[in-house]
Symmetry: C2
Subunit: 402 residues, 2 copies
Amino acid sequence: MSSIDFLLNNSEVVKSLYYHNPSTSADISCYTGKSIPHVIKILNELVKEGYVAENGYATSSGGRKPLNYSLVSDTHFLLSVSMDQFSTQMVIVDMNNRFITEVIRYEFDLLRSEPGTLVNYIKIFIKDSGVSKKNIIGIGLTMPGFVNTKEGVNYTFLKVADQTLVEYVQQRIKIPVFLENDSKAIALGEQKFGIASNVENVLVLNLGWGIGLGMILGGKIFRGNNGLAGEFSHIPLFKNGKLCKCGKHGCLETEASLIAVTATAKQGIAAGQITSLANYEVVDADVIINEAIKGDAYSVRLISEAAYHVGEGLAILIHLMNPAVIVLSGKGSVVGKLWLAPIQQAINEHCIPMLTQYTELVISNLNSKAQLLGAAALVVENFGKPLEAKLKAIKEISGSIN
Amino acid sequence: MSSIDFLLNNSEVVKSLYYHNPSTSADISCYTGKSIPHVIKILNELVKEGYVAENGYATSSGGRKPLNYSLVSDTHFLLSVSMDQFSTQMVIVDMNNRFITEVIRYEFDLLRSEPGTLVNYIKIFIKDSGVSKKNIIGIGLTMPGFVNTKEGVNYTFLKVADQTLVEYVQQRIKIPVFLENDSKAIALGEQKFGIASNVENVLVLNLGWGIGLGMILGGKIFRGNNGLAGEFSHIPLFKNGKLCKCGKHGCLETEASLIAVTATAKQGIAAGQITSLANYEVVDADVIINEAIKGDAYSVRLISEAAYHVGEGLAILIHLMNPAVIVLSGKGSVVGKLWLAPIQQAINEHCIPMLTQYTELVISNLNSKAQLLGAAALVVENFGKPLEAKLKAIKEISGSIN
DNA sequence: GAAAACTTATTAAATATTTAATAAAGTCTT
DNA sequence: AAGACTTTATTAAATATTTAATAAGTTTTC
């Protein structure tokens, strides 16, 4: 059995260690559902192979002190790629979920750029990172748009002729690639490392230019039948006649996104509204958020109105999904406190109390790291059979080409 | 090992046989994910114990003819209890999912009746059925309201002091009881025996007085964190100011339910609308549906408008869940064709085409049987550990009382 | 009408995993 | 400080399950 196969064959234990560091044998038994003797057997083998290290004893809770186990950080690495519509961030993560490089940001306009450019950026990033390519076990590629994870396609951006995006990148980099929608990746990050870790049913809002949604249902990312679930920002909620960029009218996004807020602000300023926003040459979302934080009443009102509309949408979600926790995440969550009160207000007004009493609304503690962590976790989630299959496919193609 | 334990220890194979009758060893291997030799070993043991019968050969598809296996019908039975707000239906089902008694209907007003009355009806039904009580392996109890399946409680109806409803019934009948919400039971029925069988992501609408929703997500009934998921009829969708019975305004139900339709009809008649409904002393939903079928233009318009509003709600659901199939089920689905066109119209108008192209809208072929089949399937779903645990609990309590 | 291809059934060996028992090493109570 | 009680680690035996190989029927092909 080759070295990496050994890691992948015991993927349940490895995953558990990646997410919970350090762990005792009892912890791992609990997380994986395997018996303690079996877990210890696997751990000892992993120690022998150099993938796992014992590191001291944990404190006792009234019995023999348990041994602590951790993954050895530098046996393999994960490449985390986190795209939004205008830029792409990359970082390399070790087996203990630590960033071992700087987070590098590349200008990359999803609408106008080519997949080839992305591949080049990845190649450059790997080269500059100093990490040996053969030690990078997988790439988590996360991006906006209609993403079909199973097929490895993004129906919205970076379409490639006669090939899936995943195949395209994988063939050129020769590292297994896993594709996911940005909001779903953020949800995964929040579930594994965030404030809602280990909760079965979580809704994660990706507050940014639009309003993305990632759902963890029954402990797993919910993707729907074609990977298109969670199109929260386009639910038809308003009879406002406003045309959305999706082609329909009255989408949540037409009232609740930062794009809508910016449009309203410009109208307000033109109409002579008294606001510090009037002092700016260019009014964009960042400006409005900053002025709101500083206390400009009009800016606060604009954000609050948008947040209230988000809350109206969330009221629908709560009725349908009965989640334990709703997390406000994504880049916009840094001003989470601005959103919190109006959203809660809308929920209180529009939800049956029986339902709200069981649902908690919280602000992410991961900030902008959620998507990067989620992209790495996406690779870890595929440890085992799926990763093995991709490695095999790459080997076959390389073999036949070289 | 006692007789029933043997059945429950091999529950995966037994479940597969219950849902797919007859099956070959290859079928069962496929459904359960176990290897063929292992499945055959279990089957042979089940045959020896008298739970399974070989019955002839299936046709070959280009190889050796496979043996057909079925569960023996009369080793055990399931009691299916299917409640709506005003009446309760019961039937006994055999191990091949066949109704072996008449479906008996009891008048039982959920709001005004006592749990004790339900228990009495169940006792009477079992006695009259002629089926020996000790052969009834479980009761599937399905009813409207906020049902927490895990806790065994209905927060809306039939509350019992100091005890869960499941405990209450179970202690008095001494048969394991499994509780589920009516719409979720219908969804289970549709998933296992209906037009959407074996589909991973299905939304099932329970068209009746209200509009219930049961969701099958990732192949399983989705219940949310407290069993309260799927409150479709109370999503806040309209700014109509109409007060809903839930205490809020603008719920889907205020525009789309048969209750709303009936109210609108009465207003219309009073306002002199030309319609055959005017000939009736009492106008209720049944009357409107009947006249719509006969062709009364006003009745058709009323139903269509309600259906269109249901479609608006479904458009939201499609954006969020990306289901493969949406099934119109429940008692109201007998006039499914009246609903179909306006719902589809609303979906087309309010959904992103990318999403609608993957979602099929169909009418149930189970009609009013869906809930009864779902209630029986609920017991089957709990074959194995959960049923074993309940049997043990009953034995302990009986032992300590008697 | 054989040969080839295919599916199913059976068997034996290998592997995965759990259970139960015991030993080792702690904490807590009195 | 002794004894009761916990928790963890280790071992051996039992059970569950899969893999691989082979045999037994059926259909398809030529």
